[in-house]
Structure formats: structure tokens, C-alpha cells
């Protein structure tokens, strides 16, 4: 057996070991998240019930409620920006289990929410543990800002 073959076997063994290690540990971290628009999310929520998902939409005007007692922020997310023409669709209620919101999170901001859908008393509620907010900027700089709880 030449040195080259030995090295190849060694390399394959190490790569296999690392791959196996990585694959077995993936489940431990909440690593994979689906990303879709509110509409796509709505169209097929059952497939994802219990699973972590994320979708993007716009914060409905005057919908942000900061509940200091419960340490929660509640708001509505809709399909289109509040001042845009056309259908904004039925909004979905999102509860962030934290008072920590990103700087750019405000009325009309485009947001990406991550978490899972749960059954609430008045219909399904999306329990978010992470929100990202995008700045509706005039030209090209579009910073995104995030928070995690």
C-alpha cells in the first residue's frame, strides 16, 4: 500500500468521522428554519405545526403593544406595508416573549419572525422568540437588525 493510499484512507476516515459527528449533533441545535412569506406560511401551516418556522411580512399600523407586566410584545403582521395600495390580507398575531425589540422594529417595518404557531384562545398565535427588522430605506442601504430572546 502506497503512502498516497494510506493518506487517502486516513482522510476519508477523518472526513467520515467529522461528517458523522456533525450530522448527529445537528438535531441538538435548533438549526434549521424554513423561510417563507406570510401567505406561503398561511397556505400550509399544519405541515409545520410544532416545527420552528419563520416568515416575513409587515408590522400592521398601530398594532404594537408592549406589555411591561407580562414582559411581552404583541403585534400584528400582514402581507403588505400598511400604506401600500392593494390587499394587506388578514393579519396574524405575533407574541414576542421578551421586551427586547430591535431598533428598526416599528409600525410598517418589514419583519422576519422566527418561532412556532400555537393555538390561542382567539385563534392561532405565532409565538416568536426572534425577530429581525428591516429598514424600509429610500436607496440602497438596507440594514437588518435582530434580537433573540
Amino acid at each position: 500500500m502506497t503512502k498516497g493510499v494510506q493518506i487517502a484512507i486516513g482522510a476519508t476516515a477523518i472526513a467520515g468521522l467529522l461528517g458523522w459527528y456533525g450530522a448527529t449533533n445537528l438535531d441538538a441545535a435548533p438549526a434549521f428554519t424554513y423561510y417563507k412569506s406570510l401567505e406561503e406560511f398561511r397556505a400550509n401551516p399544519d405541515a409545520r405545526s410544532g416545527a420552528r418556522s419563520r416568515f416575513h411580512g409587515y408590522v400592521a399600523a398601530n398594532s404594537i403593544r408592549r406589555d411591561v407586566e407580562a414582559m411581552q410584545v404583541r403585534f400584528l403582521v400582514q402581507n403588505a406595508p400598511p400604506h401600500a395600495e392593494g390587499e394587506s390580507g388578514v393579519p396574524i398575531e405575533v407574541v414576542l416573549d421578551s421586551l427586547e425589540t430591535p431598533d428598526l422594529f416599528k409600525d410598517g417595518a418589514e419583519v422576519v419572525v422566527e418561532g412556532q404557531l400555537v393555538a390561542g384562545t382567539a385563534g392561532p398565535v405565532f409565538e416568536a422568540d426572534k425577530i429581525l427588522a428591516k429598514c424600509p430605506s429610500k436607496f440602497e442601504a438596507t440594514p437588518i437588525d435582530s434580537t433573540e430572546s
Binding site: I14, A31, V68, L99, E100, T101, A141, P143
Partner: protein, 656 residues
């Protein structure tokens, strides 16, 4: 005035095309006089692009709001230094900066090789000019920095720069990063020239090694500064989030670092020639690919530029084309670059370096997969699936530990074949130190002692001990000769064998960085909603909320909270986190307040002043963060020692 900029770019493009033509002609026909023509055209192109840069700087300085770029990236209220830094605050301007740097590097390589590497030079110039031509076309036709607004639309004031970018670190971070990323064009060009001419001996990579070290150092500085900026500005208590834009700067660093190690095997043992060529090609391709990734918006990032489909497809085409040409050339020469030597033993320095290379490449593969997962899953599953920051450390953790181990082991094992006796002699003391350190850390942490920090700090101590041992033995040997004292011997080592002993300093810095990062295992964070006068504790500190005041600034408003910080009963100072609102840009920003020490950082952000008058704070206690920055300084210092040009070094490198 702005017209001069646009004309300069177009003129530079014409000259670059002519220069490229003469370089190819000189290379194919072996006509040295045409090489000189090509080299002079590099100077001319550089001069015209410099004029374009100056024109844009001038327009930014003088509020020339006829220009789209100036209007959208600066404002009258911004101080001069931030107006000038706006040149790299947007897509078009930063491409111009990239182009200028590429030409600055081209001019430098033409100058330093005016009497060397003459057969390689036409191809080096051809590759560099081909890259420059691509960027010239981009700034001349696709994203023009000198584009004018419609005549009626001339504005009296601009849009301003994203306030998050108005920070001293952000003035230098992009410059450092570009000096790094762009600089890899030079080793890439030399490697390609060697492949084309078939002169695959020692010349090209001796030249290349130094041209790789320089951009590598700046890329390292850029990455560290990026972390520093995120820590000070973004207000989420961390310095690295595995965001695509961060990964984009880190990915080329990995094969570049691998190359700097494996090139030593080529120098000493004339092995791994193909591998080294592949690493150079991979590094430059990843530099371009990273630029594409952050500018095209194909993956979501905290840091996004405008997204134009033309730009995306043109740029991707360019990245793939350069990679294709380069790797085809490697495949074409594969027989000639096959190395006559083989690894003789797995217990040898070359085997250690080879393992080190595999670790760097495994890290790269993992990070690449995670970063592009949305794209990969879109192709295979039809859905975008993103991976969270939790994905990356799964592999990065164990690989970093293994790398740390190799950092200590590699330099101590002999070349070719190490004997058991020499290995055990070399490892005795460092091994004991590492073991004791792990035990001390384990006992000190008690129940919170987990695998990662214990292993990491134990290995860190082991590596530091090997470095100290290497220095001590070498200094003792010199002192025993009787001509030098210890300090003279130390400086002599850094002078005479700067590659080795400077490298150890770099390793020491890297160990401190990793040790500091391992501190994040013990991070604490709290979210507190409290009234004035209330207090709470975190990480042994006590914070009392005093007051909140309006910020009386012209360009932004908001609130600044004041909190008294105590350790036990001892007052440490007043923390002043701010919640700002930038009026012009209509953008809020949370500015954290940090109390920093060598043990830990206390990091406070003001999340909101609530309607009932209470304040919500997010507070982090981050152990050992400071060691990352201290390690960063040492890392840079060591790299400077390695690169520093000594007058006697030219001779040294001749006889290897």
C-alpha cells in the same frame, strides 16, 4: 467636475484593454519590450482611477448633490471624515475603492518585480489587468459612481449614511478588509503566470509567499475590527454571529492560512505543489465569491447592498470564469507539478501541517455549507431553509480545539521523521503545564466545568508552554555562545528567523483569541424592566437605575439612561447606554455602554423607556472578551515581525 471622474474611468478602461493586449502579446511572443509597455499601462490606469477616486472624494466633501451616489450616501450634517468614508459606504463607491486597491497592488507588483521574474511578468500583468477591466466595466456601465440625478432633481441635502456605519471603526474596517481581499489577486496572478509559462520551480511561490502574507495580515485585521465594530455598535452583546457577511470575510482567510502553513512544506521538502496552487486559487475565488455574496443579496444578511439582477449575474459569471480558467490551468499542468517527495512518517512536521490544512479546509466546507444552505435547499427541496447561528459551532468548536492542539504540536516535531525520544523530550514540560492547567481550570470551575472551556484552556496553556520552551531553548543556546545577553538574543531571533519566531507570536495571539472566545460559554444575560432607584445583580455586579435624560444633540435625539455600577459595595462608575433616533435617516440605534476589564465585560443596552416611565435594559456579562482584542493586537504584532523587511533578508531567502 464630476464629468472628469466618468471620463477618467472610460479612459482607464481603454488603456487597460490595450495594456492587456500587449501583455498577452508579450507573453505569447516572448517580447520583453512589450512587457514594459504592459507594465507602463498599469501605471497609467492606476493614475486615471486615482483621479476618479479624488473626484468622488471631492464631490463628497463639497456636497455635490447632482450626483446620485453623493446624494444617497452623505448629508450636510455629517462631519468631513464620515463624508469621505461614505466613498465605501455604498455599492458603486466601494467597487471603485476595490478597483483602486487592485491597481495599487498591480503597480506595486510591477515595481517590485521590475528586475525579477521577467518571464512571469507579462502573465501577471495580464491577469491583474483582466481583473481591473472587469471592475472598470462595472463602474463604467453597471453601477456608476458618477451617475447624475435628473436635472430637475438636484437636492439641497443628501440622504445621509446609515448611522450604524458612522463609527470610527467603520472608517478603517472596510479599508483593511479590502486591502486583504483584493491583495490575494497578486499571488493568484503569480500562480497563474507560473502555470501558463510552466515555470513551476521555486520562483513563483517564493515571491508569492510574501505577497500572500501581506493581504492575509490585513484580512485578519479587517475580520477582528469587524467583530469589534459589531460589539460596540450593534448592541446585541456579541462580536460574531455567523452572519453571511461575516462568513464571507472569514472563508477566504481559511485557505489563505492553510497556504501559509503548507507553503513551508513546499519550501523545505518540495512537496504539495498542486495543493498549494489549489489553495491560492481557492482563496482568491472565495474573496470574489464573498464579495458577490454580500452584494447580490442571494442570502439574507445584516448588511446588504442594493440588489440589481444585472450586477448579480455579471458578477457571478466573473467569479465562475476566473475559477474555471485557473483550475483548468492546474489540471493542464498536473503532471509537471507532481511532487517527487512523499511523506515519510505520520510523526513528522509535514504530517502535522497536512493535518492542519485538512482542519482549515473542513472548517471552510462546514461554514460554506451553512452560509449557502438557503440556496442549496432551494435547489434541492424547493424551499429556503436557513440554518441558525447554532449550526456553525457544532463543527467549529471541535475543529478549533484540534487546531489548537496542532498549533502546539506542529512546530515541535522534526521534519521527515521524528524519533520517539525526541518527541517525548520536547513534549515533557509543555504537556505537564497543559495537564496542570486543565486540572486547575477544572477544579476552579467546579460544577460548571464543562468539556469545552476545560479542554480549550488546558490546550491553550500547553501551546503557550511550547512557545515559551522554543524561545527559552533558542535564547539559552545563543547566550551560551557568550556574545549576547538574553534580550539581545531575543531580538536576534526575531531578526534572523523572523518566519519561525514571529510565527510563534502569531500563534500566541491566536491562543489568546480562542481562550477569550471560550469565555462565551459562561456568558450571562438578563432583561430587566425597572423603575428609577431599583437595582439588580448580574455576574457579581450590581446596577442601580438612576435617571433617564433626553439627548440634546442636533442630528439625533432619544434618551440616555444613567446606571450606577457597583461590585459589592464598591462603586465602579456610571453606565450610560443610549437609545438614539437619527432624524434625517429616520433610524433608531441602541448604543451600548460597556464596563470592561481583563476578567469580564459588563455590557448594558437601553431597550426602551416604557410608557409607564420604567426602563427596559438588556444586560450582558461576557467573561474574557477583552482577551480577544488583546490577542488580536499580539496576532498583528507577530505578523508584522514575520513580514518586516530586513536588509539582510533578501540574501537569506536566496539561500533558503
Amino acid at each position: 467636475m464630476p464629468d472628469i471622474g466618468g471620463y477618467s474611468i472610460r479612459f482607464a478602461l481603454v488603456i487597460a484593454l490595450l495594456g492587456f493586449g500587449s501583455a498577452i502579446y508579450a507573453g505569447v511572443q516572448r517580447r520583453p519590450e512589450w512587457t514594459r509597455v504592459a507594465e507602463r499601462s498599469v501605471w497609467v490606469v492606476f493614475a486615471f482611477v486615482s483621479i476618479a477616486m479624488l473626484v468622488l472624494f471631492y464631490a463628497l466633501a463639497t456636497f455635490d448633490y447632482q450626483l446620485f451616489y453623493v446624494a444617497s450616501h452623505s448629508a450636510r450634517s455629517m462631519p468631513l471624515h464620515y463624508r469621505l468614508a461614505a466613498l465605501w459606504g455604498g455599492q458603486a463607491g466601494s467597487l471603485l475603492l476595490w478597483l483602486w486597491m487592485l491597481l495599487a497592488y498591480s503597480v506595486a507588483s510591477v515595481w517590485f518585480n521590475r528586475a525579477k521574474n521577467r518571464t512571469l511578468m507579462p502573465w501577471v500583468v495580464a491577469v491583474l489587468l483582466a481583473n481591473a477591466i472587469f471592475f472598470l466595466i462595472l463602474v463604467a456601465f453597471v453601477t456608476e459612481p458618477f451617475e447624475r440625478l435628473q436635472p430637475g432633481d438636484t437636492l439641497s441635502d443628501g440622504n445621509g449614511l446609515n448611522p450604524l456605519l458612522q463609527h470610527p471603526v467603520m472608517m478603517i474596517h472596510p479599508l483593511m478588509l479590502y486591502t486583504g481581499l483584493v491583495g490575494f489577486a497578486v499571488p493568484f496572478a503569480f500562480a497563474f503566470a507560473a502555470l501558463v509559462t510552466g515555470e513551476l520551480g521555486t520562483n513563483w511561490f517564493r515571491t508569492t509567499r510574501r505577497w500572500t502574507l501581506f493581504p492575509w495580515l490585513f484580512l485578519s485585521i479587517g475580520i477582528i475590527l469587524g467583530g469589534r465594530w459589531a460589539y460596540e455598535v450593534l448592541g446585541w452583546g456579541g462580536y460574531w454571529a455567523w452572519d453571511p457577511v461575516e462568513n464571507a470575510s472569514f472563508m477566504p482567510w481559511l485557505p489563505a492560512t492553510a497556504f501559509l502553513h503548507s507553503v513551508m512544506i513546499q519550501e523545505k521538502r518540495n512537496m504539495l505543489k498542486t495543493w498549494n496552487l489549489l489553495l491560492i486559487g481557492l482563496t482568491y475565488t472565495l474573496c470574489l465569491f464573498g464579495t458577490f455574496l454580500t452584494r447580490s443579496g442571494i442570502v439574507q444578511s445584516v448588511h446588504a447592498f442594493a440588489q440589481s439582477p444585472i450586477f448579480t449575474s455579471v458578477f457571478l459569471g466573473y467569479v465562475l470564469f476566473s475559477a474555471l480558467v485557473f483550475f483548468t490551468a492546474v489540471a493542464y499542468r498536473r503532471k509537471e507539478i507532481r511532487s517527487p517527495n512523499r511523506i515519510e512518517s505520520m510523526v513528522s512536521r509535514e504530517a502535522g501541517f497536512l493535518l492542519n490544512n485538512w482542519v482549515f479546509i473542513s472548517l471552510l466546507v462546514w461554514i460554506f455549507t451553512g452560509t449557502l444552505f438557503p440556496v442549496i435547499s432551494e435547489i434541492f427541496q424547493g424551499e429556503q431553509i436557513t440554518v441558525g447561528p447554532g449550526f456553525f459551532p457544532i463543527m467549529a468548536g471541535p475543529l478549533a480545539l484540534f487546531l489548537l492542539f496542532l498549533t502546539g504540536v506542529g512546530p515541535l516535531i522534526a521534519w521527515r521523521r521524528a524519533s520517539l525520544a525526541s518527541v517525548s523530550k520536547q513534549f515533557r514540560w509543555p504537556g505537564v503545564v497543559g495537564l496542570i492547567a486543565s486540572l486547575v481550570v477544572g477544579f476552579a470551575l467546579g460544577e460548571s466545568a464543562t468539556y469545552y472551556p476545560t479542554m480549550c484552556w488546558g490546550l491553550g496553556a500547553f501551546v503557550v508552554a511550547t512557545i515559551v520552551q522554543e524561545y527559552a531553548l533558542a535564547i539559552r543556546a545563543r547566550v551560551r555562545k557568550g556574545e549576547e545577553n538574553a534580550l539581545q538574543a531575543f531580538t536576534a531571533l526575531l531578526r534572523k528567523n523572523q518566519q519561525r519566531y514571529g510565527g510563534y507570536i502569531v500563534h500566541f495571539g491566536a491562543v489568546l483569541i480562542i481562550v477569550g472566545m471560550a469565555g462565551s460559554v459562561f456568558d450571562e444575560e438578563r432583561l430587566e424592566n425597572i423603575q428609577t432607584g431599583d437595582q439588580f445583580e448580574i455576574g457579581g455586579y450590581r446596577l442601580q437605575y438612576l435617571t433617564a435624560n433626553a439627548i440634546p444633540m442636533q442630528h439625533y435625539g432619544g434618551a440616555v439612561a444613567r446606571l450606577a455600577l457597583y461590585r459589592g459595595e464598591k462603586p465602579l462608575g456610571v453606565m450610560t447606554p443610549e437609545k438614539r433616533m437619527y432624524w434625517l435617516e429616520q433610524q433608531p440605534a441602541s448604543i451600548p455602554s460597556v464596563h470592561s476589564s481583563v476578567i469580564d465585560d459588563l455590557y448594558v443596552t437601553l431597550t426602551a423607556i416604557e410608557a409607564d416611565g420604567s426602563a427596559t435594559f438588556k444586560v450582558y456579562c461576557n467573561p474574557l472578551v477583552n482577551w480577544i482584542w488583546i490577542g488580536g493586537y499580539i496576532f498583528v504584532l507577530g505578523s508584522v515581525v514575520v513580514i518586516w523587511p530586513h536588509p539582510d533578508r533578501a540574501r537569506d531567502s536566496q539561500d533558503g
